[in-house]
Assembly symmetry: C2
Homo-oligomer: 340 residues x 2
């Protein structure tokens, strides 16, 4: 079994596997070249292009895993929410009341995104031994966009919606959870060997709100994948205050941001593989400082399974040379050697 | 002594004093009326207008404290950093290297912002028994803007700068700390009876980075005010992962955001007054739900000194009626009554 899948299943491997969130994307010149000819949504919905973009960082860096190039909004249009990119995702008609929730469809597994299934099949044929990670947004994070309608700093509309219309919010989260299960099961059946569930906006909420509207539905989705036998990774960005609820979720691995050391997360979630958590800003630092920070994260990741990654997506202005250096340092680090 | 100052000094008062972050500003129709005739920077730099805007929420709601209407960027122009509002603050020439740091001045106490001193003197004459809270940005947060040059979601440039130019960063923070001490001492000498230090971007950093570049300089500023004898309030937004460093700072009160219950903060910082921490989104909820959330925060604030406030600034689309209702619930809540 590949290094990545062994670590995601809890093995304390001698070398940490490495991949990087948003590794397929704007920091790569070969991606930017493709992007000049096709818009984002075309790249994400044309299987051959999706596969090509997904493969680019694996070819360049020899990453231990590929992650499907896609957008977490992908399941919204088949539910009936019209989506546009300018360049961030914008909904034509955000969900603001119960009637709008009731009008949403829960698409069948083969209706959510057939182009993603096709891309995954192409990728499996190309990737050989390198595992493919599928992904989706957690219901709370999908609901954040569905209600707010676009990116925002505060997501005030969504936070108010949870209080003004709790029943409609639960009905929305229920439909998003069912759609997500269908979407992610499809990805696994098409060939994805692990799944990452992104709860990018979980950290915006207090622990009580997260327990009611976030953890409940993340759990439902993760439980809905349990019988497939692939490792499930859950990411709650900015989730230090949600630690207990997050640690209790049914998943094999937690992807954590840079704010807290892995040593702390190891104590909070002793049974889980940890993924992370270099500050993406470290990749903009001089080579020496970058190498020091990578070593520190590797040291903090000892004492259990660790998948090296960033604490959040790579910044678009990162140099590919810095990423190559990061991979080199991770590969050269013996996690079982006595600490120096 | 006023209810607010008693609570800030650690008294477990029977009724919680209440004020609201950004209470003077866009949610008030009387502020928007003034704003049609004067731009933000004019309002913040014309003593009579600043005093008028500061007084508006005290008049309307009978708040237990007034907070100086100003911008945390105020000390940057006298240091040599040209500032413009379009409408967010933008620096003409952000600080990006050691030479730019060395070129910055540390203004004398009477040079930082004489218009603020004048506004404070006008306000003290008008406010009577209602205390006036002065404020400033903590050095880390001021440095964030000084380097980034404008608002940002990730502050990638600043986070990279801390790694690429640590010596220049420390030199910058040193000058910002000295300027902040001068600015805040001036506010107290002009009549401010409490000081709030805003570290709005502290939570962006990991605990190690915050300890080196954040807490060190926040401590310096707070220590630099100690002999004045006014209560010092420190706010670290999104600071759950920084709890130990924050709790150790030399201040009488911690202002905390809505993410974590006051009960948890009470355990982390047992000797300090707590200020907060209603989610600003609760003010957009139906009246019944708002009252329930206010009561919950009040209950969580028991067992020590509590200043009722929001966990972050009020949203501009908040109705003044909701704020009035909030104040009414806080006033009607006996903190020493047996829990119902």
């Amino acid at each position: 079994m590949s290094l990545l899948l062994r670590a995601l299943r809890g093995e304390d491997t001698e070398v940490a596997p490495v991949w990087i969130m948003r590794q397929a994307g704007r920091h790569l010149p070969e991606y930017r070249a493709l992007k000049e000819r096709h818009d984002f949504w075309t790249l994400a919905r044309t299987p051959e292009l999706t596969a090509e973009v997904t493969l680019q960082p694996v070819r360049r860096y020899g990453m231990d895993g590929a992650i499907l190039f896609s957008d977490i909004m992908t399941p919204l249009p088949p539910m009936g929410l019209e989506l546009d990119f300018r360049p961030g995702p914008v909904l034509a008609a955000p969900v603001r009341d119960r009637a709008a929730v009731d009008a949403l469809r829960v698409p069948a597994q083969d209706e959510v995104a057939p182009f993603v299934a096709d891309a995954i099949r192409l990728l499996r044929a190309e990737l050989g031994e390198v595992p493919l990670i599928g992904f989706g947004g957690a219901p709370l994070t999908l609901a954040t966009y569905a209600v707010e309608g676009s990116g925002s700093k505060e997501y005030a509309t969504f936070r108010a919606f949870l209080r003004a219309e709790p029943d409609a919010a639960h009905a929305l989260l229920d439909k998003l959870a069912e759609t997500s299960i269908a979407y992610l099961r499809m990805q696994v059946e098409a060939g994805a060997q692990a799944i990452q569930l992104f709860d990018s906006w979980a950290g915006l909420h207090d622990a009580r709100t997260y327990a009611a509207f976030g953890a409940t539905y993340a759990r439902r989705v993760l439980d809905g994948l349990a019988d497939l036998g692939v490792p499930r990774i859950y990411l709650a960005l900015d989730g230090a205050h949600l630690e207990h609820a997050v640690a209790a979720l049914p998943c094999e691995a937690l992807s954590v941001d840079w704010r807290r050391p892995l040593t702390t997360w190891r104590t909070v979630a002793p049974g889980k593989a940890l993924q992370g958590n270099l500050d993406p800003a470290a990749l903009l630092a001089p080579t020496e400082a970058l190498a020091d920070e990578v070593e520190r994260v590797l040291d903090e990741g000892r004492g259990g399974a660790h998948v090296f990654n960033l604490g959040h997506g790579i910044f678009p202005n990162t140099s590919p040379d810095a990423v190559a250096r990061l991979v080199e340092v991770v590969r050269g680090h013996d996690r079982h050697a006595e600490a120096g």
